[in-house]
Protein backbone atom coordinates (compact mmCIF):
# COMPACT_ATOMS: atom_id res chain seq x y z
CA UNK A 1 0.00 0.00 0.00
CA UNK A 2 1.28 3.45 -0.76
CA UNK A 3 2.51 5.07 2.38
CA UNK A 4 0.44 8.20 2.01
CA UNK A 5 -2.79 6.26 2.26
CA UNK A 6 -2.06 3.69 4.96
CA UNK A 7 -3.53 5.67 7.81
CA UNK A 8 -6.99 5.53 6.25
CA UNK A 9 -7.25 1.94 7.48
CA UNK A 10 -6.75 2.62 11.19
CA UNK A 11 -8.91 5.70 10.86
CA UNK A 12 -11.70 3.68 9.32
CA UNK A 13 -11.18 1.00 11.95
CA UNK A 14 -11.29 3.52 14.78
CA UNK A 15 -14.39 5.09 13.29
CA UNK A 16 -16.15 1.77 12.98
CA UNK A 17 -15.16 0.80 16.51
CA UNK A 18 -16.24 4.16 17.85
CA UNK A 19 -19.58 4.13 16.11
CA UNK A 20 -20.11 0.52 17.09
CA UNK A 21 -19.26 1.22 20.74
CA UNK A 22 -21.54 4.22 20.81
CA UNK A 23 -24.28 2.22 19.12
CA UNK A 24 -24.32 -0.96 21.06
CA UNK A 25 -21.64 -0.95 23.73
CA UNK A 26 -20.30 -4.35 24.76
CA UNK A 27 -21.87 -7.24 22.94
CA UNK A 28 -25.02 -8.41 24.65
CA UNK A 29 -25.97 -4.97 25.98
CA UNK A 30 -29.66 -5.01 25.20
CA UNK A 31 -30.10 -1.59 26.87
CA UNK A 32 -27.83 0.08 24.34
CA UNK A 33 -30.54 2.27 22.83
CA UNK A 34 -32.21 2.99 26.15
CA UNK A 35 -29.27 4.04 28.30
CA UNK A 36 -29.14 7.47 29.90
CA UNK A 37 -26.81 9.91 28.19
CA UNK A 38 -24.96 11.68 30.98
CA UNK A 39 -22.57 14.54 31.58
CA UNK A 40 -21.28 16.05 34.77
CA UNK A 41 -21.55 19.83 34.80
CA UNK A 42 -19.18 21.76 37.04
CA UNK A 43 -22.00 23.97 38.33
CA UNK A 44 -24.48 23.63 41.21
CA UNK A 45 -27.78 21.86 40.51
CA UNK A 46 -29.84 25.06 40.78
CA UNK A 47 -27.89 26.50 37.85
CA UNK A 48 -28.17 23.35 35.77
CA UNK A 49 -31.97 23.30 35.93
CA UNK A 50 -33.05 26.71 37.24
CA UNK A 51 -36.65 26.69 38.35
CA UNK A 52 -37.02 23.20 36.95
CA UNK A 53 -36.57 24.46 33.39
CA UNK A 54 -34.35 22.70 30.90
CA UNK A 55 -31.27 24.55 29.61
CA UNK A 56 -31.69 25.99 26.11
CA UNK A 57 -30.16 23.30 23.89
CA UNK A 58 -32.27 20.61 25.57
CA UNK A 59 -35.48 22.63 25.50
CA UNK A 60 -36.05 21.63 21.88
CA UNK A 61 -36.54 18.06 23.06
CA UNK A 62 -38.99 19.10 25.75
CA UNK A 63 -41.65 16.37 26.09
CA UNK A 64 -39.61 13.79 24.15
CA UNK A 65 -37.00 13.24 26.86
CA UNK A 66 -36.69 12.16 30.45
CA UNK A 67 -34.31 14.24 32.56
CA UNK A 68 -32.52 13.41 35.79
CA UNK A 69 -30.44 15.94 37.74
CA UNK A 70 -28.48 15.11 40.88
CA UNK A 71 -25.37 16.30 42.72
CA UNK A 72 -22.16 14.62 41.67
CA UNK A 73 -20.07 13.08 44.43
CA UNK A 74 -16.91 14.71 45.67
CA UNK A 75 -17.80 18.30 44.84
CA UNK A 76 -17.70 17.57 41.13
CA UNK A 77 -20.78 19.55 40.23
CA UNK A 78 -24.05 18.14 38.96
CA UNK A 79 -24.84 15.02 37.01
CA UNK A 80 -27.24 15.72 34.15
CA UNK A 81 -28.79 12.69 32.47
CA UNK A 82 -31.25 12.55 29.59
CA UNK A 83 -32.80 9.88 27.43
CA UNK A 84 -35.48 9.64 24.82
CA UNK A 85 -38.85 8.46 26.09
CA UNK A 86 -39.24 6.47 22.87
CA UNK A 87 -35.92 4.69 22.36
CA UNK A 88 -34.99 4.60 18.69
CA UNK A 89 -34.40 1.33 16.92
CA UNK A 90 -34.17 -0.26 13.53
CA UNK A 91 -32.26 1.11 10.61
CA UNK A 92 -31.78 4.55 12.15
CA UNK A 93 -29.52 3.15 14.85
CA UNK A 94 -27.58 0.86 12.52
CA UNK A 95 -24.05 1.79 11.46
CA UNK A 96 -25.21 3.17 8.08
CA UNK A 97 -28.00 5.03 9.83
CA UNK A 98 -25.60 6.65 12.26
CA UNK A 99 -23.14 7.53 9.51
CA UNK A 100 -26.05 9.20 7.74
CA UNK A 101 -26.89 11.08 10.93
CA UNK A 102 -30.37 9.56 11.26
CA UNK A 103 -30.23 8.38 14.88
CA UNK A 104 -32.11 10.87 17.09
CA UNK A 105 -29.74 10.10 19.96
CA UNK A 106 -27.02 11.86 17.96
CA UNK A 107 -28.90 15.18 18.16
CA UNK A 108 -29.57 14.57 21.86
CA UNK A 109 -25.87 13.91 22.55
CA UNK A 110 -24.95 17.10 20.75
CA UNK A 111 -27.52 19.08 22.73
CA UNK A 112 -26.23 17.60 25.98
CA UNK A 113 -22.65 18.52 25.15
CA UNK A 114 -23.66 22.03 24.18
CA UNK A 115 -25.66 22.39 27.39
CA UNK A 116 -22.61 21.49 29.45
CA UNK A 117 -20.38 23.88 27.52
CA UNK A 118 -22.84 26.77 27.83
CA UNK A 119 -23.33 26.21 31.55
CA UNK A 120 -19.63 25.90 32.29
CA UNK A 121 -17.81 28.06 29.77
CA UNK A 122 -20.57 30.38 28.61
CA UNK A 123 -20.26 29.38 24.96
CA UNK A 124 -19.94 26.42 22.63
CA UNK A 125 -16.59 26.45 20.90
CA UNK A 126 -17.07 26.65 17.16
CA UNK A 127 -14.54 25.15 14.75
CA UNK A 128 -12.40 27.39 12.58
CA UNK A 129 -14.09 28.45 9.38
CA UNK A 130 -13.65 28.79 6.51
CA UNK A 131 -11.72 25.53 6.32
CA UNK A 132 -8.28 25.48 4.78
CA UNK A 133 -8.48 21.81 3.82
CA UNK A 134 -9.17 20.31 0.42
CA UNK A 135 -11.16 17.25 -0.56
CA UNK A 136 -9.14 14.04 -0.87
CA UNK A 137 -10.32 10.42 -0.34
CA UNK A 138 -8.86 10.33 3.15
CA UNK A 139 -10.06 13.85 3.83
CA UNK A 140 -13.63 12.93 2.91
CA UNK A 141 -13.53 10.14 5.49
CA UNK A 142 -12.18 12.53 8.13
CA UNK A 143 -14.84 15.04 7.11
CA UNK A 144 -17.58 12.47 7.65
CA UNK A 145 -16.19 11.63 11.09
CA UNK A 146 -15.97 15.30 11.98
CA UNK A 147 -19.59 15.88 10.97
CA UNK A 148 -20.78 13.00 13.14
CA UNK A 149 -18.32 13.49 15.97
CA UNK A 150 -20.43 15.79 18.13
CA UNK A 151 -23.30 13.32 18.13
CA UNK A 152 -21.21 10.23 18.77
CA UNK A 153 -18.99 9.02 21.56
CA UNK A 154 -19.41 7.56 24.98
CA UNK A 155 -21.95 9.86 26.60
Amino acid sequence: MRKRAWWILPMAGAAAIGVHRARSGPSGDDRAHDRWLTVTVNRPAEEVRPGGRLPTPLRAFDERIEVDVRPAPGDRGTELAVRLKQPPGGARTSLPGRLAGQDPRQDLRLALRETKALLEAGEVLHPDTPPTSRETPGGRLVGLLVRRSGGEGVL
Binding site: K3, R4, W6, W7, L9, P10, M11, A14, A15, I17, G18, V19, R21, A22, V39, T40, N42, R76, G77, R113, K116, A117, E120, A121, G122, E123, V124, L125, H126, P127, D128, T129, P130, P131, T132, S133, R134, T136, G138, G139, V142, G143, L145, V146, R148, S149, G150, G151, E152, G153, V154
Partner: protein, 391 residues
Protein backbone atom coordinates in the same frame (compact mmCIF):
# COMPACT_ATOMS: atom_id res chain seq x y z
CA UNK B 1 -2.58 35.01 4.53
CA UNK B 2 0.26 32.51 4.20
CA UNK B 3 0.30 29.33 6.28
CA UNK B 4 2.21 26.07 6.52
CA UNK B 5 -0.14 23.28 5.48
CA UNK B 6 -0.02 19.51 5.79
CA UNK B 7 -0.61 18.19 2.28
CA UNK B 8 -0.17 14.46 2.90
CA UNK B 9 2.29 12.12 4.57
CA UNK B 10 5.70 13.83 4.56
CA UNK B 11 4.39 16.68 2.43
CA UNK B 12 4.27 20.26 3.68
CA UNK B 13 3.81 23.43 1.70
CA UNK B 14 3.20 27.10 2.30
CA UNK B 15 -0.19 28.08 0.93
CA UNK B 16 -2.45 31.11 0.74
CA UNK B 17 -5.45 30.48 2.98
CA UNK B 18 -8.34 32.62 4.28
CA UNK B 19 -7.55 34.72 7.34
CA UNK B 20 -8.90 33.42 10.66
CA UNK B 21 -12.05 35.01 12.06
CA UNK B 22 -13.57 35.50 15.50
CA UNK B 23 -16.25 32.83 15.97
CA UNK B 24 -16.85 33.01 19.71
CA UNK B 25 -17.08 35.94 22.10
CA UNK B 26 -14.06 34.70 24.06
CA UNK B 27 -11.82 34.44 20.96
CA UNK B 28 -9.04 36.73 19.94
CA UNK B 29 -6.82 36.95 16.87
CA UNK B 30 -3.07 36.97 17.29
CA UNK B 31 -0.52 38.07 14.71
CA UNK B 32 2.32 35.61 14.86
CA UNK B 33 5.68 36.91 15.96
CA UNK B 34 7.29 33.48 16.14
CA UNK B 35 6.45 29.80 16.20
CA UNK B 36 8.65 26.75 16.46
CA UNK B 37 8.94 23.24 15.16
CA UNK B 38 8.07 20.58 17.73
CA UNK B 39 8.93 16.90 17.76
CA UNK B 40 5.27 16.00 18.10
CA UNK B 41 4.63 17.70 14.73
CA UNK B 42 6.82 15.03 13.15
CA UNK B 43 4.26 12.40 14.16
CA UNK B 44 1.61 14.35 12.27
CA UNK B 45 3.81 14.94 9.27
CA UNK B 46 4.83 11.28 9.12
CA UNK B 47 1.22 10.12 9.20
CA UNK B 48 1.32 8.54 12.65
CA UNK B 49 -1.46 10.74 14.04
CA UNK B 50 -4.75 10.09 12.23
CA UNK B 51 -7.49 12.52 11.24
CA UNK B 52 -5.51 15.04 9.22
CA UNK B 53 -6.94 16.59 6.06
CA UNK B 54 -4.90 17.95 3.18
CA UNK B 55 -4.61 21.67 3.71
CA UNK B 56 -4.70 21.61 7.50
CA UNK B 57 -2.42 24.22 9.09
CA UNK B 58 0.06 22.76 11.58
CA UNK B 59 1.97 24.35 14.47
CA UNK B 60 1.07 24.76 18.14
CA UNK B 61 3.94 26.48 19.97
CA UNK B 62 3.83 30.23 19.41
CA UNK B 63 4.05 33.82 20.53
CA UNK B 64 2.34 36.80 18.97
CA UNK B 65 0.68 40.18 19.22
CA UNK B 66 -3.03 40.61 19.87
CA UNK B 67 -4.73 42.30 16.91
CA UNK B 68 -8.42 41.69 17.61
CA UNK B 69 -10.46 40.63 20.62
CA UNK B 70 -13.98 39.28 20.97
CA UNK B 71 -16.45 41.02 23.29
CA UNK B 72 -15.96 38.37 25.97
CA UNK B 73 -12.18 38.84 26.28
CA UNK B 74 -11.35 40.71 29.49
CA UNK B 75 -7.68 40.16 30.19
CA UNK B 76 -6.09 41.14 26.87
CA UNK B 77 -6.03 44.17 24.64
CA UNK B 78 -4.90 44.89 21.10
CA UNK B 79 -1.14 45.31 21.05
CA UNK B 80 -0.38 42.92 23.92
CA UNK B 81 2.55 40.56 23.36
CA UNK B 82 1.37 37.14 24.48
CA UNK B 83 2.60 33.59 24.63
CA UNK B 84 -0.22 31.13 23.99
CA UNK B 85 -0.54 27.69 25.54
CA UNK B 86 -0.66 24.97 22.90
CA UNK B 87 -3.65 23.30 24.59
CA UNK B 88 -6.93 25.19 24.76
CA UNK B 89 -8.80 25.16 28.07
CA UNK B 90 -12.21 26.66 28.82
CA UNK B 91 -11.09 27.49 32.36
CA UNK B 92 -14.31 26.43 34.07
CA UNK B 93 -14.96 22.72 33.59
CA UNK B 94 -13.91 20.42 36.43
CA UNK B 95 -10.63 19.53 34.73
CA UNK B 96 -9.58 23.13 34.13
CA UNK B 97 -10.71 24.09 37.63
CA UNK B 98 -8.42 21.36 38.95
CA UNK B 99 -5.43 22.45 36.82
CA UNK B 100 -5.70 19.49 34.43
CA UNK B 101 -6.01 21.76 31.43
CA UNK B 102 -5.13 19.34 28.64
CA UNK B 103 -8.17 17.32 29.70
CA UNK B 104 -10.65 20.18 29.26
CA UNK B 105 -14.17 18.96 28.54
CA UNK B 106 -15.22 21.84 26.29
CA UNK B 107 -12.53 22.57 23.72
CA UNK B 108 -12.37 19.52 21.48
CA UNK B 109 -14.90 20.22 18.76
CA UNK B 110 -14.73 16.61 17.56
CA UNK B 111 -15.09 14.65 20.80
CA UNK B 112 -16.40 11.46 19.22
CA UNK B 113 -13.13 10.78 17.37
CA UNK B 114 -10.91 11.01 20.43
CA UNK B 115 -13.45 9.10 22.51
CA UNK B 116 -13.22 6.23 20.04
CA UNK B 117 -9.43 6.32 20.32
CA UNK B 118 -8.95 6.95 24.04
CA UNK B 119 -12.23 6.34 25.81
CA UNK B 120 -12.62 10.05 26.57
CA UNK B 121 -11.59 13.08 24.58
CA UNK B 122 -8.70 15.41 25.37
CA UNK B 123 -8.76 19.18 25.15
CA UNK B 124 -8.34 20.82 21.78
CA UNK B 125 -4.85 21.73 20.65
CA UNK B 126 -3.76 24.10 17.92
CA UNK B 127 -2.90 22.42 14.62
CA UNK B 128 -2.88 18.85 15.82
CA UNK B 129 -5.43 16.92 13.78
CA UNK B 130 -9.18 16.75 13.83
CA UNK B 131 -9.00 14.10 16.56
CA UNK B 132 -7.55 16.78 18.83
CA UNK B 133 -10.13 19.41 18.02
CA UNK B 134 -9.42 20.43 14.45
CA UNK B 135 -8.29 23.94 15.39
CA UNK B 136 -6.07 25.73 12.91
CA UNK B 137 -2.37 25.61 13.65
CA UNK B 138 -0.07 28.51 14.36
CA UNK B 139 2.43 28.36 11.51
CA UNK B 140 0.62 31.19 9.80
CA UNK B 141 0.52 34.95 9.81
CA UNK B 142 -2.52 35.00 12.09
CA UNK B 143 -4.23 32.52 14.38
CA UNK B 144 -7.52 32.51 16.26
CA UNK B 145 -7.13 31.89 20.00
CA UNK B 146 -10.30 30.54 21.68
CA UNK B 147 -10.89 31.12 25.40
CA UNK B 148 -8.14 33.70 25.17
CA UNK B 149 -8.41 34.88 28.77
CA UNK B 150 -7.32 31.43 29.93
CA UNK B 151 -4.76 30.37 27.31
CA UNK B 152 -2.79 33.51 26.48
CA UNK B 153 -0.30 35.13 28.84
CA UNK B 154 1.35 38.56 28.65
CA UNK B 155 5.10 38.35 28.25
CA UNK B 156 7.09 40.55 30.67
CA UNK B 157 9.15 43.20 28.93
CA UNK B 158 12.48 41.77 29.99
CA UNK B 159 12.00 38.50 28.14
CA UNK B 160 12.87 38.42 24.45
CA UNK B 161 10.59 36.85 21.85
CA UNK B 162 12.67 33.75 21.21
CA UNK B 163 13.04 32.89 24.89
CA UNK B 164 9.37 33.44 25.67
CA UNK B 165 8.24 31.41 22.67
CA UNK B 166 9.20 28.15 24.35
CA UNK B 167 6.92 28.91 27.30
CA UNK B 168 4.06 28.03 24.96
CA UNK B 169 4.71 24.30 25.10
CA UNK B 170 8.17 22.82 25.61
CA UNK B 171 9.01 24.53 28.92
CA UNK B 172 5.69 23.76 30.64
CA UNK B 173 5.74 20.24 29.24
CA UNK B 174 9.16 19.58 30.69
CA UNK B 175 8.28 21.23 33.98
CA UNK B 176 5.09 19.21 34.27
CA UNK B 177 7.02 15.97 33.81
CA UNK B 178 9.31 16.72 36.74
CA UNK B 179 6.51 18.19 38.86
CA UNK B 180 3.93 15.45 38.39
CA UNK B 181 6.60 12.76 38.72
CA UNK B 182 7.11 14.12 42.21
CA UNK B 183 10.78 15.06 41.91
CA UNK B 184 12.05 16.17 45.30
CA UNK B 185 15.33 17.15 46.92
CA UNK B 186 17.80 14.31 46.98
CA UNK B 187 16.35 12.44 44.01
CA UNK B 188 18.37 11.09 41.14
CA UNK B 189 16.46 11.74 37.92
CA UNK B 190 17.11 10.23 34.49
CA UNK B 191 15.66 11.92 31.42
CA UNK B 192 15.42 10.15 28.07
CA UNK B 193 15.77 12.66 25.23
CA UNK B 194 17.78 15.87 24.91
CA UNK B 195 15.39 17.75 22.66
CA UNK B 196 13.75 20.90 23.96
CA UNK B 197 11.24 19.10 26.19
CA UNK B 198 13.84 16.72 27.60
CA UNK B 199 16.19 19.60 28.35
CA UNK B 200 13.43 21.51 30.09
CA UNK B 201 12.43 18.45 32.11
CA UNK B 202 16.03 18.08 33.24
CA UNK B 203 16.25 21.76 34.16
CA UNK B 204 12.97 21.54 36.06
CA UNK B 205 14.22 18.52 37.98
CA UNK B 206 17.33 20.45 39.04
CA UNK B 207 15.28 23.48 40.08
CA UNK B 208 12.96 21.22 42.07
CA UNK B 209 15.95 20.03 44.05
CA UNK B 210 17.11 16.83 42.40
CA UNK B 211 20.55 15.81 43.61
CA UNK B 212 21.65 14.55 40.19
CA UNK B 213 20.02 14.65 36.76
CA UNK B 214 21.25 12.38 33.99
CA UNK B 215 20.13 13.06 30.42
CA UNK B 216 20.25 10.37 27.72
CA UNK B 217 20.50 10.86 23.94
CA UNK B 218 22.71 9.97 21.00
CA UNK B 219 23.17 13.30 19.20
CA UNK B 220 26.54 14.77 20.25
CA UNK B 221 25.55 18.43 19.92
CA UNK B 222 22.37 17.88 21.95
CA UNK B 223 24.31 16.11 24.68
CA UNK B 224 26.84 18.94 24.74
CA UNK B 225 24.08 21.56 24.78
CA UNK B 226 22.36 19.82 27.70
CA UNK B 227 25.53 19.73 29.74
CA UNK B 228 26.33 23.35 28.98
CA UNK B 229 22.95 25.06 29.32
CA UNK B 230 20.98 22.73 31.59
CA UNK B 231 23.67 21.52 33.92
CA UNK B 232 22.82 17.84 33.89
CA UNK B 233 25.11 14.89 33.37
CA UNK B 234 24.69 13.00 30.08
CA UNK B 235 24.85 9.49 28.64
CA UNK B 236 25.34 8.71 24.94
CA UNK B 237 23.28 5.56 24.56
CA UNK B 238 25.15 4.54 21.43
CA UNK B 239 28.39 4.40 23.39
CA UNK B 240 27.42 2.62 26.60
CA UNK B 241 24.86 0.26 28.10
CA UNK B 242 22.39 2.76 29.57
CA UNK B 243 21.00 0.46 32.26
CA UNK B 244 24.48 -0.52 33.44
CA UNK B 245 25.66 3.07 33.39
CA UNK B 246 22.66 4.24 35.41
CA UNK B 247 23.15 1.45 37.97
CA UNK B 248 26.78 2.39 38.36
CA UNK B 249 26.00 6.10 38.79
CA UNK B 250 23.24 5.46 41.33
CA UNK B 251 24.93 3.09 43.73
CA UNK B 252 23.13 0.14 42.16
CA UNK B 253 19.67 1.49 43.02
CA UNK B 254 18.57 2.98 39.71
CA UNK B 255 17.10 6.47 39.27
CA UNK B 256 14.30 7.50 41.62
CA UNK B 257 12.47 9.19 38.77
CA UNK B 258 12.68 8.37 35.06
CA UNK B 259 11.23 10.86 32.60
CA UNK B 260 10.65 9.79 29.02
CA UNK B 261 10.74 12.73 26.59
CA UNK B 262 11.08 10.89 23.30
CA UNK B 263 7.70 9.69 22.08
CA UNK B 264 6.26 7.33 19.54
CA UNK B 265 9.11 7.39 17.02
CA UNK B 266 11.85 6.43 19.43
CA UNK B 267 15.19 5.35 18.06
CA UNK B 268 17.64 2.89 19.51
CA UNK B 269 20.61 1.00 18.19
CA UNK B 270 19.58 -2.43 19.39
CA UNK B 271 17.57 -5.21 17.75
CA UNK B 272 14.47 -3.97 19.56
CA UNK B 273 14.50 -0.93 17.27
CA UNK B 274 14.31 -3.09 14.15
CA UNK B 275 11.55 -5.14 15.74
CA UNK B 276 9.55 -2.03 16.65
CA UNK B 277 10.06 -0.41 13.28
CA UNK B 278 8.91 -3.55 11.48
CA UNK B 279 5.79 -3.81 13.62
CA UNK B 280 5.04 -0.11 13.24
CA UNK B 281 5.41 -0.19 9.47
CA UNK B 282 3.17 -3.27 9.31
CA UNK B 283 0.66 -1.43 11.52
CA UNK B 284 0.83 -4.17 14.14
CA UNK B 285 1.57 -1.42 16.64
CA UNK B 286 1.13 2.30 16.20
CA UNK B 287 3.94 3.56 18.40
CA UNK B 288 7.57 2.63 19.14
CA UNK B 289 7.98 2.63 22.92
CA UNK B 290 11.72 1.93 23.07
CA UNK B 291 12.59 4.63 25.59
CA UNK B 292 9.56 3.84 27.76
CA UNK B 293 10.64 0.21 28.07
CA UNK B 294 14.16 1.26 28.94
CA UNK B 295 12.95 3.73 31.56
CA UNK B 296 10.74 1.13 33.22
CA UNK B 297 13.57 -1.38 33.39
CA UNK B 298 16.11 1.17 34.64
CA UNK B 299 13.91 2.77 37.30
CA UNK B 300 14.61 1.86 40.91
CA UNK B 301 12.16 -0.32 42.83
CA UNK B 302 9.23 1.79 43.94
CA UNK B 303 10.26 4.65 41.69
CA UNK B 304 8.27 6.76 39.23
CA UNK B 305 8.27 6.76 35.44
CA UNK B 306 6.70 9.76 33.74
CA UNK B 307 5.87 9.54 30.03
CA UNK B 308 6.10 12.99 28.43
CA UNK B 309 6.59 11.85 24.84
CA UNK B 310 3.54 11.80 22.60
CA UNK B 311 1.95 8.41 21.96
CA UNK B 312 -1.18 7.92 19.90
CA UNK B 313 -2.29 4.33 20.17
CA UNK B 314 -1.06 0.88 21.10
CA UNK B 315 2.42 -0.44 21.82
CA UNK B 316 3.85 -3.91 21.91
CA UNK B 317 6.05 -5.60 24.52
CA UNK B 318 5.11 -3.17 27.26
CA UNK B 319 6.91 -4.46 30.37
CA UNK B 320 3.88 -4.59 32.64
CA UNK B 321 5.55 -7.24 34.76
CA UNK B 322 8.33 -4.83 35.69
CA UNK B 323 5.78 -2.17 36.60
CA UNK B 324 3.89 -4.49 38.92
CA UNK B 325 6.74 -6.41 40.44
CA UNK B 326 8.95 -3.38 41.06
CA UNK B 327 6.05 -1.39 42.44
CA UNK B 328 6.47 1.47 40.00
CA UNK B 329 4.26 4.48 39.56
CA UNK B 330 3.77 5.11 35.85
CA UNK B 331 2.18 8.37 34.87
CA UNK B 332 1.77 10.40 31.72
CA UNK B 333 -0.01 13.50 30.47
CA UNK B 334 -0.29 16.00 27.73
CA UNK B 335 0.76 19.27 29.19
CA UNK B 336 -1.33 21.37 31.52
CA UNK B 337 0.39 24.56 30.39
CA UNK B 338 -1.95 27.10 31.96
CA UNK B 339 -0.99 25.68 35.34
CA UNK B 340 2.67 26.55 34.88
CA UNK B 341 3.18 29.32 32.31
CA UNK B 342 2.87 32.37 34.62
CA UNK B 343 5.32 30.84 37.11
CA UNK B 344 7.68 29.85 34.29
CA UNK B 345 7.68 33.37 32.84
CA UNK B 346 8.61 34.65 36.30
CA UNK B 347 11.44 32.15 36.56
CA UNK B 348 12.57 33.10 33.07
CA UNK B 349 12.58 36.77 34.00
CA UNK B 350 14.62 35.87 37.10
CA UNK B 351 17.18 34.07 34.96
CA UNK B 352 16.46 30.60 36.35
CA UNK B 353 15.30 29.21 33.01
CA UNK B 354 17.11 29.83 29.76
CA UNK B 355 15.70 28.73 26.43
CA UNK B 356 17.25 30.90 23.73
CA UNK B 357 19.88 28.25 23.00
CA UNK B 358 17.14 25.87 21.80
CA UNK B 359 16.55 28.09 18.78
CA UNK B 360 19.39 26.80 16.67
CA UNK B 361 17.81 28.08 13.45
CA UNK B 362 15.46 30.91 12.47
CA UNK B 363 13.65 30.87 9.13
CA UNK B 364 10.87 32.81 7.42
CA UNK B 365 7.52 31.07 6.98
CA UNK B 366 8.26 30.42 3.30
CA UNK B 367 11.13 28.14 4.31
CA UNK B 368 9.20 26.21 6.96
CA UNK B 369 9.01 22.95 4.93
CA UNK B 370 12.79 22.90 4.61
CA UNK B 371 13.11 23.74 8.31
CA UNK B 372 10.94 20.76 9.23
CA UNK B 373 13.04 18.52 7.01
CA UNK B 374 16.19 19.71 8.75
CA UNK B 375 14.53 19.32 12.16
CA UNK B 376 13.31 15.83 11.38
CA UNK B 377 16.69 14.58 10.24
CA UNK B 378 18.53 16.56 12.95
CA UNK B 379 20.92 17.97 10.38
CA UNK B 380 23.05 21.06 10.87
CA UNK B 381 22.77 20.68 14.63
CA UNK B 382 19.07 21.57 14.56
CA UNK B 383 17.32 21.37 17.93
CA UNK B 384 14.48 23.77 17.18
CA UNK B 385 13.79 25.90 14.12
CA UNK B 386 12.00 29.14 14.91
CA UNK B 387 9.60 30.22 12.19
CA UNK B 388 8.92 33.93 11.82
CA UNK B 389 6.15 34.93 9.40
CA UNK B 390 7.55 38.48 9.22
CA UNK B 391 11.34 38.24 9.61
Amino acid sequence: MKALCWEGVNKLSVENVPDPELHNDQDMIVRLIAGTTCGSDLHLIGGYIPAMRAGDIIGHEFLGEVVETGPGVRRHAVGDRVVVCSFVGCGRCWYCANDLWSLCDNTNTNPGIAQAMFGYETAGIFGYSHAMGGLRGSHAEYVRVPFADYGAFPVPEGIDDTSALFCSDSVPTGWMGADLAGVKPGDVVAVWGCGAVGQMAARAALLLGAERVISIDRIPERLAMTERYIGSETIDYTAVDVAAELRERTGGRGPDVCIEAVGMEAHSDGPAHLYDQAKQQLRLQTDRPTAVRQAIHACRKGGTVFILGVFAGAVDKFPLGAVINKGLTVRGAQMHGQRYIPMLLERMAAGQLKTAHLATHTVPLEQAPQAYDMFKHKTDGCVRAVIRPAP
